[in-house]
């Protein structure tokens, strides 16, 4: 277990260092999300009440599309110079690499959310009528649901010819329950009309199931020819 943690930490710190130097994922995600916010704000002119009802959907669709941009780049670094082969011939467990990539993507998307949320608040004049702290829980669970599957399917589409198209095709259908729960949970907190508890539990259960499945299957994906 400690070896898994050590290797996950080593791979994660390597990925963070590489991203810090290139800023490939963060820059493209931020730019993309910013465009979505601006386009949405020009397209709709909602009242404060309407904003609360639609903001959950808008925010998460923007984050989902922006995250796909980063997820597509997750494994690109490992393909350059076939670095992934160096990992495959080593005794390091495949799960350490998967966890590091998923955690890295989680951090990137959380950073994106931290930058974009204030903009959404300003553009849509948002104010939560429910317990605002619950937004943090929904956000963390929703983001993990997105990145854990995204990291897995990005690895799966690595060896396909059109992997950038393949990722959304694989990821979006399987993310529908998580996206629905995240949007509903966010809307519940923003409007204060109903409790987000059911959606939070659903997200937590979704995460447990899919994280376990990804960890169990990743070794096969990594070593597939």
């Amino acid at each position: 277990m400690s070896a898994l943690a050590t290797l996950t930490r080593a791979s994660l710190s390597k990925d963070l260092r590489l991203e810090w130097r290139s800023k490939d994922a963060i820059n493209s995600m931020l730019f993309f999300a910013l465009l979505v916010v601006v386009i949405f704000s020009f397209s709709f002119d909602p009242t404060a009440e309407e904003s609360r009802r639609i903001a959950g959907g808008l925010v998460w669709v923007a984050f989902l599309f922006a995250a796909v941009v980063a997820l597509n780049q997750t494994w690109a670094r490992e393909l350059r110079n076939q670095v992934l082969d160096a990992y495959r011939v080593s005794p390091a467990p495949a799960n350490a690499l998967f966890l590091a990539k998923a955690l890295g993507n989680f951090i990137f998307v959380i950073v994106l959310e931290a930058f974009m949320t204030p903009l959404f608040i300003v553009f849509y004049n948002l104010r939560a009528l429910g317990a605002a702290y619950q937004l943090l829980i929904v956000s963390a669970l929703g983001t993990w649901a997105l990145v854990v599957n995204g990291t897995f399917f990005a690895a799966m589409s690595l060896r396909t010819r059109s992997r950038e198209i393949m990722l959304p095709l694989l990821l979006f259908p399987i993310s529908i329950p998580a996206l629905l729960a995240t949007v509903e949970g966010t809307t519940a907190i923003l409007t204060g009309d109903y409790s987000p508890k059911f959606w939070i539990v659903l997200l937590a259960a979704y995460n447990v199931v899919f994280t376990t499945a990804c960890l169990l299957l990743f070794d096969k994906v990594l070593n597939a020819e």
């Binding site: 590489l18 076939q82 670095v83 082969d85 160096a86 011939v89 020819e225």
Partner: protein
């Protein structure tokens, strides 16, 4: 084929009827061979002869369609991966990181957390461990040496090197050959896939000639295809 060359008493690697098919193309067509420890084998042949596929199969990166590979007494290559160093034609290095940073990361994969050892390995291949330039800015020769350092960091018993001399100047190639002979003399078994077999003329213990996915002959001396 000279039987005396490969009828080894105590082989470290035994390949039996190895077939690797990519769709309808057979890259390896029933390769059978034995290799003993502490020798330097040069695997030579034309493009498409199956050299790289054989090396990748030995590294466990390619699963055979048929046949088996036994290394260090086991057919489970994953269980002996700590004893295996692999250097591919691409560098297998992160271009945005420095040499030392790369090696530190790859050492961790083998549970080695020893900066001194990383520095020693980089020095052993003739590079400066204090160089902070990213690997992407290295010359091709420096990249090849760094790649060799990565393959050596965990002190493996078996080294699999794919085209270590490609795009390397004559002096660097000579230095690499000298290093390989030192490693062989230290007891390592080394396989070098190369198109520049003449580089290993005086270093290799055996030349393994491949053609169309099979080993056609094994010789102690380097001889071209036209030679008798």
């Amino acid at each position: 084929m000279n039987q005396s060359l490969h009828a080894a008493a105590n082989p470290i690697i035994v390949i039996h009827d190895l077939v690797k098919q990519f769709g309808r193309f057979a890259a390896l067509r029933g390769v059978s061979a034995e290799f003993v420890a502490g020798r330097l084998y040069a695997i030579v042949g034309e493009n498409g002869a199956g050299k790289t596929t054989l090396l990748r199969s030995l590294a466990g990166l390619t699963q055979p369609t048929r046949g088996s590979i036994s290394m260090l007494g086991t057919t489970d290559l994953r269980s002996v991966c700590r004893q295996l160093g692999y250097m591919a034609h691409p560098s297998l290095l992160y271009e945005e990181m420095g040499g030392m940073e790369n090696l530190r990361y790859f050492a961790r994969l083998y549970e080695i957390q020893d900066d001194e050892r990383c520095a020693r390995t980089i020095s052993a291949v003739g590079l400066d461990p204090t160089l902070i330039r990213p690997v992407g800015q290295y010359s091709q020769g420096m990249r090849q040496r760094m790649s060799l350092a990565r393959a050596l960091i965990h002190d493996p018993k078996v080294l699999l090197l794919d085209e270590p001399f490609s795009n390397v100047d004559a002096r660097s190639a000579r230095q690499m050959t000298h290093l390989l002979t030192q490693l062989r003399d230290a007891g390592k078994t080394i396989f070098v896939v190369t198109h520049q077999a003449s580089q290993l003329e005086h270093a290799a213990d055996e030349f393994v000639h491949m053609e169309a996915g099979v080993i056609v002959r094994r010789t102690r001396e380097w001889m071209t295809a036209e030679a008798p």
